[in-house]
Symmetry: C2
């Protein structure tokens, strides 16, 4: 029987994930059955939300099991097919285990076309990342032309797409990121109207007021924590906050504390809403169609950080929490 | 020229309002002009939201001016009318100054019928209080039959009505209040399914879990602070929180801190929304109609705390923050 390199969850991270939380092992590849595909992984997506699945707290998806493979969005090449919809040489996307080679059910996978877009794009702008940006902004943010959109984690995978869609929809778009280089990129690459470097800004609340002279109507929040506290002082009447991520607190060992949001929400008749792309599965096809069209007509662009090598997947994941990625982080095998 | 006793804002409260923040004075009553009414105040409503207007921070309504009269919802008798829609002896409701006698524009006032309901009811269940409960619960809470509704400040003016409407709409209703007597009243008077005394409960989060075995779908929040922190651990997927009040923190001198809500909202695709009845003026007539009908058919009942005497208005207001009221607090002149 053949075997494959595999990465398991070795221990549940306490605070920041460590390399020792991951277990490199070799597992057997089972026989291929009807309706299954033998796959060689080509790209693996690493995403902040995986941190949640590494804890055993109840969340919107089940936690990973200890000493079982971690899984995430991946692209793979079909080596062998026992399903009539797929042939050898096809590329597929789906949630796959962190294994070099594996058997998976065909029905859980989607064929992707390497001639229409780079394979890695199907993990980013044409995948969960792009959908999160598009559906989160439009469904929860309900932006109206001329309003001001503020994006935290703006240079990240989701944030950079949110900002661009904001511009397509006719909004003033301001982004918050962690280095001057990223802030410059927000404007030069993604068309943001203004950017704020939270690492070099002492008075975030005032900086936001300056960059958003008409206040904040829609806040697309990827980070939570202190940055989101500063935003509270700048929200407009009837503002909408999309709580998409809280990467700044995912590794906290204790429950993070912040300025109470309730008085601000009441003063401004404002809303905050948690957003998870998995709740909107019926809107994914229309979303992908729109994103593909914008990408083809060059209204959207994307940046990705590509790491190489199966063994570097855990480090790439850990680097997300230090902001070492620009745009979508993927690992090429 | 005639004069009237008047209560001004003497100083902006720091923390809890003090008697010295109020200024008892005598002011002149101007000549009555066309379109105006001369009024004798009969009932004055004291409400937690007035605390916000005593600070000079921007909020959803303008702050009170120093050394100018405070105003709040009131009922008054028409002593003299220069408006064709009103006659001597009519009773009106509207936002009036804390004065025994005053001149006001007829167009800002609504006639109320002392035969249909007690006059004080027009400040409570048939006024802003009832509307806040009804419109907040239905518009923001969007409750569905069989869901669980949790109400904080449940024995208060708004909370006690929220709970009753919840029962009319077929929800399981749980209330949080501050004394055993109030908790008993939630069940005996207002039909709540269960109640929690936050002053004698050590583990609020566990107590809520016990009282809401299916979790919390709708949280009508009048208090904010620690109680609302405990609720976060019990919200269901897609839960809705109506942020109607945050009385527990209104008197804080510094910005209150709480457990960060963002990770909870994300985990549960949950929403929080600030609610102010003034945003829904177009829905007030329909709301009053519904409330009047429920009151007439005895589906709704109400409790009020009536204080007496013009000079006791400030103390009645201050007592709200110590939970000394049951239901709506009004002052009878």
């Amino acid at each position: 029987m053949n075997t494959t390199k595999t990465i398991n969850l070795n221990s549940r991270p306490v605070g920041k994930p460590q390399l020792t939380d991951f277990e490199f092992t070799t597992t057997e590849i089972p026989e291929l059955k009807d309706g299954e595909l033998l796959l060689r992984t080509t790209y693996v997506s690493v995403d902040p939300y995986l941190r949640g699945r590494m804890s055993d707290a109840k969340s919107y998806i089940a936690p990973f099991e200890l000493h079982k493979p971690i899984e995430s969005g991946s692209i793979a090449e079909v080596l062998e097919s026992k399903d009539s919809n797929f042939s050898k040489g096809d590329y597929v996307s789906g949630s796959l285990a962190w294994k070099e080679t594996q058997v998976a059910k065909a029905k859980d996978l989607m064929k992707v076309d390497p001639d229409k877009a780079a394979l890695s794009a199907y993990l980013g702008i044409l995948g969960m990342t792009g959908l999160t940006a598009y559906i989160g902004l439009t469904e929860i943010g309900k932006p109206k032309k001329g309003e001001t959109l503020l994006v935290s984690g703006a240079a990240g995978a989701v944030g950079s797409v949110v900002g661009q869609i904001g511009k397509i929809l006719g909004l003033r778009v301001v982004g918050i990121a962690g280095t001057d280089e990223k802030v410059a990129m927000l404007k030069s690459e993604f068309g943001f109207d203004a950017g704020i470097n939270y690492n070099t800004t002492k008075q975030m609340s005032e900086a936001i007021a300056k960059a958003c002279p008409d206040g904040v109507d829609v806040y697309f929040d990827n980070v939570g924590g202190e940055i989101s506290e500063a935003v509270l002082f700048n929200i407009n009447k009837f503002s909408r906050t999309i709580n998409c991520g809280a990467i700044s607190v995912y590794n906290n060992k204790e429950l993070p504390k912040s300025i109470s949001v309730q008085p601000f929400l009441i003063k401004k008749s404002a809303s905050m809403q948690g957003f998870v792309i998995f709740d909107y599965v019926d809107q994914h096809p229309a979303g992908i169609k729109q994103l593909t069209e914008w990408l083809a007509t060059e209204k959207l662009t994307y940046t990705e950080t590509i790491r190489e090598g199966f063994e570097n997947i855990p480090q790439a994941f850990m680097d997300l929490f230090d902001g070492k990625n620009k745009g979508k982080m993927v690992v090429k095998l």
